[in-house]
């Protein structure tokens, strides 16, 4: 765990379980970022990222999202498009790009790299960068060259990224994270736990994240 360097008693740890490909994680993380940035306690908040792979059976090779969703939900591609366009409207309200015709694929490698990012204290930024590529519609979002480029942009040596991609490093941590969320009672992803006291399944509004931060802060430091 990284530390802000202030006494532990004055910190608030926020744990977030998420998947790169999860639309509500994408929106929820943006809202949580906004809530933290505007919090008077921002400098004393430790944000910890945990993996939750929503679909381990997703295809290894990226496919069009509408094709993937139609198969997963048993709906037509037009119905999948209607669903996605509603999500795009939600994302637009947050100022986030959301391209309906984008790739979908297995996120295990991406989540393993988020753990590598943690060793360089950029886990959250790395995950958010991956989501920007995926939901921004980059057809090569799952390509190793893209993942290396994003990581290097955050200061992670490209060789380390390629080594992780070539093996199965951190796969056990991805599974352990997921098991932990289930044990804690996660009934929705993203799953946010504030101060080990307050759990929020799913994405809530900026105001609700703000209230939860204040509530957890008061319980711990009040």
């Amino acid at each position: 765990m990284q530390s802000t360097g202030v006494p532990a008693a004055t910190q608030l740890i926020i744990d977030v379980w998420a998947d790169v490909l999860c639309p509500w994680c994408y929106l929820g993380e943006q809202r949580l970022d906004t809530a933290i940035a505007s919090s008077p306690h921002a400098a004393h908040i430790d944000l910890q990222v945990h993996s939750f792979q929503l679909d381990p059976d997703a295809p290894a090779a990226a496919v069009p999202t509408l094709e993937y969703l139609a198969g997963k939900y048993g709906v037509s591609q037009q119905q999948a498009r209607d669903m996605e366009e509603e999500m795009a409207r939600q994302a637009a309200a947050e100022g986030l790009p959301y391209v309906v015709d984008r790739p979908a694929g297995n996120t295990l490698d991406l989540l393993r790299l988020v753990h590598l990012g943690a060793e360089h204290e950029v886990a959250w930024k790395y995950q958010r960068a991956m989501q920007s590529e995926v939901f921004g519609g980059n057809a090569d979002a799952f390509e190793h060259t893209t993942l290396v480029r994003l990581g290097e942009g955050l200061g992670i040596p490209g060789e380390q990224i390629r080594e992780v991609l070539a093996g199965d490093r951190y796969a056990d941590r991805v599974r352990a994270d997921q098991d932990q969320a289930v044990r804690l009672g996660a009934r929705g992803v993203p799953f946010t736990v504030l101060g080990s006291r307050l759990g929020i399944p799913g994405a809530v509004s900026v105001e609700q994240y703000t209230n939860a931060i204040n509530q957890a802060w008061e319980q711990i430091n009040g």
Binding site: C22, Y73, E86, V189
Partner: protein, 60 residues
């Protein structure tokens, strides 16, 4: 704000209070199905129409 992961966290010392039913939307951790909000979205089979409703697994 620090930025990292800690696989063994959180070490809960008090009961964790889960705030259910407040989400605008979520993805179901069991099925991976993502729930869309409100009536504006046509709800395909098994997707659910409201964010706070339980979700049935999709039929393939």
């Amino acid at each position: 704000m620090a930025d990292g992961t800690a696989p063994q966290r959180p070490q809960t010392t008090v009961p964790l209070v889960i705030m259910d039913g407040v989400a605008d939307g979520y993805c179901d951790p069991g099925t991976g199905v993502c729930v869309l909000p409100g009536a504006a979205t046509p709800s395909p089979p098994n997707l659910g129409g409201r964010a706070d409703e339980p979700v049935a697994p999709p039929k393939h």
